[in-house]
Amino acid sequence: MGAYFQEEIECASAGKIKQMQDERLAAQVKHVWDNVPFYRKKLEEAGIKPEDIKGRDDLHKLPFTTKADLRDNYPDKLVAVPLDDCVRIQSTSGTTGKRVVAYYTKEDIDLWEDCCARAIVAVGGSKKDVCQVSYGYGLFTGGPGLNGGSHKVGCLTVPTSSGNTDRQIMFINDLKTTILCCTPSYAAYLGESMKEMGMKPDEIPLKAGIFGAEAWSEEMRNDIQKTLGIKAYDIYGLTELSGPGVAFECSEQKGMHVNEDHFIAEVVDPETGEPLPDGEKGELIFTSITKKAFPLLRYRTRDICILSHEKCGCGRTHVKMTKPLGRTDDMLIIRGVNVFPSQIETVLLKEGYQANYQIIVDRVNNTDTLDVHVEMTPEVFTDNVGEISRRQNELVAALRSMLGIKANVTLVAPKSIIRSEGKAVRVIDNRKI
């Protein structure tokens, strides 16, 4: 058993957790009923009044909230407090038409940072540590969330943000960074870079890493642990709910504890919406019960997970979730960025190609690669090699601008993309996660 950031909460009895959730859920339903016309209408349509929701056992009566609901209410129609009381927004990675703006009050940020602080303490962090936050800062929640958590723990915080690998390595060495926060693929990349520079794992000052925002396998965890000479921990979160720290891994490295005093987790059958018991695989649903500015009732994450209430060796009592085992939609997470095939299709059509394409995702040296194979069309084809290459480069630039990450484009022969039962196989994901 290690240290805790908020022991009385993190190790509370099941009864205490339920009591907290009951009270907070009832209050939250009343809060959205009073302040968000969208939720009020939705509850009315379902025939539910706030007084019908007395606690967690009534949760299943509430209707789901979906990403489409968030999109329809862009930017601030779901905000449940006066805008004067909001002090910040964060936003999702900006997939066209799917951007979500999440609002925070001062208190919302405070509680979010508590969650991140718990994650840092759970990996052995204390005020003696130097915590380098190599997640992006800005609209993305990764940087700001861990930055706030690191402050709360009292670590010396190094806000390097993402990118500039040489500088990252320089700070790790010069400032003796002990805790690294970034995406697992970037951690692997840093590890490889340090190895190439001749640094041995025991010479690297790091001792732990908090890696999230994308799926990663146990093999990848082992690789990172070996090259960096650290313990590597997972963290889970969504901008819609707050950001990183909705759930985090403890010293056991076997699943992530959901911060149940702030979020109620459920797993449901993605087809019927029926709640599933512990141990069964289904879609992960979250209800935020403390968030004031941007509360969500039964939000469908589209992540496939399993929940477990088994006793954990770390002493924490909060329910554990597995890392996401898949998605219920076609969203891909590539280098930590959400990518929908429909976005790629939009760009292709705009650039004069047809919607005959294939997306091939792989992981080479622990870094995700994105290749888009596009069938050549009579409209795009010319007798001029330079002209074709120029248009190809334009397509690469347009994809980068849409997706925020680089995609390699290969022009292939017409009708060469495999079609099964008349329908093209759009995505081939060769990553072994």
Partner: protein
């Protein structure tokens, strides 16, 4: 004054050229001249055939993307210096060559044919013709 060339898109991968030549062979298409321009990913095959329309139809039916482009075909003597004569004429007239290829033993004995693609095929034809260079046409 120009002749018709067929340009075809091929993927730069093992077997695609063989598949392509197979289609031509199976359909009795006779190739008079040919060149391949390639990048690391794709190639453009350029062909002069006996019957451009026939070849283009066959290729289209086989699922290829083909485009017919007018190119200049100059006939020169099969001797040292004859290529330089036409290139220097073009150079003096400020005409840049996009690409070119040549073949021997074509439609005239002891002569070679130079296929030229420039930005302006009409101007190219006029310049070469006034320099007394023989041009082939369809």
């Amino acid at each position: 004054m120009s002749i018709s060339q067929i340009s075809v898109f091929l993927e730069n991968k093992s077997g695609s050229l063989s598949e392509f030549s197979g289609v031509l062979s199976d359909n009795n298409i006779n190739i008079q001249a040919m060149s391949v321009a390639e990048t690391s990913e794709f190639g453009i095959v350029r062909l002069i055939t006996d019957d451009t329309y026939d070849a283009a139809t066959v290729l289209k039916d086989a699922g290829y993307i083909a485009r017919i482009t007018p190119v200049t075909c100059a006939t020169i003597e099969d001797r040292p210096g004859s290529l330089h004569e036409i290139i220097s004429v073009l150079n003096k007239s400020g005409i840049d060559v996009d690409y070119m290829y040549a073949f021997l033993g074509g439609r005239k004995e002891n002569h070679a044919h130079i296929i030229l693609k420039t930005e302006d095929d009409k101007k190219t034809d006029a310049v070469l013709k006034s320099a007394g260079i023989e041009l082939l046409e369809d």
